[in-house]
Amino acid sequence: MLKDITLGQFFPGNTVIHRLDPRTKLLAVVFYIAALFTAKWFVSYGLVLAFLLLCIHLSQVPFKSLVKGLRPVLFILAFTAILNLFYTPGRTLWHWWIFTVTIEGIFTAFFMLLRITMLIMGTFLLTYTTSPIALTDGLESLLGPLKKLHAPVHELSMMMSIALRFIPTLIEETDKIMSAQKARGADFESGSLIQKAKALIPILVPLFISAFRRADELATAMECRCYHGGDGRTKLHVLRYQGRDYGASAALAALLAAVIVLRQFGL
């Protein structure tokens, strides 16, 4: 059941989208989000949506798993849509007690829903097509200029890669501990809230102990290999922009420009 968590999951593949430089993809997501928030009416939304669908198609990530990623935010989606539906001032269509539905409300709710869905799908596409290591490498390189300001960029990205690296390990560990305690008759499903909270102790105590043990072992292993931070450290896989990266950047810039122009015309 824990294995169903999709957050940050990577779908290995060898498509154009997979092969793009992680820096390009990170910047592309920033541009994409900017375009999404600039979009105002059907034409511009349609344009951004078409772009997203094209990227999904190129990446060969199954559409189903992208939709599955929406499940955790379903509540927020419904909540935002309902709030916008009932509380946007404008021409009244229907009124009952404190609920008023306006034409503007219907449109705002619809666009809001579309915007959040596309936002999540777009960012998920990034984590689905970029391995965590590539992602942190890209981030470190992009934030590189901040090193001049003595910001610990390398240390932060190292912490991020370690954290990402250990998520699956800890999930596996939790699964194993849960199974072991279930084998001794532990019951995590039934009972009151307090009983359920208490039932977590047999999982959390061993999990914390093992997390500390792993951290300790990792620190020793890093010291054994003379890790001393970012200064003078070189990379095995040096990031280099390719032709496709310039192409993708141009496409994103064109998308953003088109959406800005369309906004001027209120489309």
């Binding site: 199974s179 084998a183 001794r184 008759g185 532990a186």
Partner: protein, 288 residues
Amino acid sequence: MEPIIKVEHLTHTYGEGTPFCRSAVKDVDLTIYKGEFLGIIGHTGSGKSTLIQHLNGLLRPTAGTVRLAGEDIWADPKAIRKVRFRVGLVFQYPEYQLFEETVYKDIAFGPRNMALSEEEIDRRVRQAAAFAGVREELLEKSPFELSGGQKRRVAIAGVIAMEPEVLILDEPSAGLDPAGRESLLRNIRQYHRASGNTVVLVSHSMDEIAENVDRIIVLADAGVAMEGTPHEVFSRAEKLEAAGLSVPQVTKVAMALRRLGVDIDPAVYTVGDLELALQPLRRRDAPC
């Protein structure tokens, strides 16, 4: 002999519908008999761990059934906890599951989940501790103060304390030194003899299996490759090697002797048997 667990056409597939989809167990049939000491052997990735997690209902089969004393354990999914009390499973490296303040409380976790009376829990904890070789004076200590070997014994006692009809141990001696390993296996043998309950030992060490069990099931490529008494299994060394396993050290010696022209049963699998098999030869060569 009367069967206690019967597995029929069991298949388990991980990650269905993702690029990582893989069948860990494929169409497995096997029977575990009441009171026997069974060994399940297979190299890493042969589906051992997945298979045994089906026996106490931790995993639900993708297809097929698991019967405990004739009844399908998934007939009533709500009653699956009762199955777990009857089929005790000790995981690999079980010491990482300890969590209580004292050894006593940790061993009592299983029996307490069974909602037994305090006296009954006390009796079971002390008896299980004795079976697993946990000394009385350790019971009031914190489990985190103990050595690795002692922790493992505490974890095993925690499962024995539920007094399961079938006790399954997954690689109980992994990572122990030879002395600790021998003494732990002696404890398990004593438990089997004294309680008369079924014990299933899962391992990839042929020597360990050879010295302890009455019957062996060999797993390979997600299915049962061989089944029989140690003598039957070890007499087919080529087939074992095809499954990525080897025969016990003692059997290797016997096979080498046979290749040198000595008339000896190539399937002896304990040191005692080899000695017995070599007895007639010794007498003949007595002069020197």
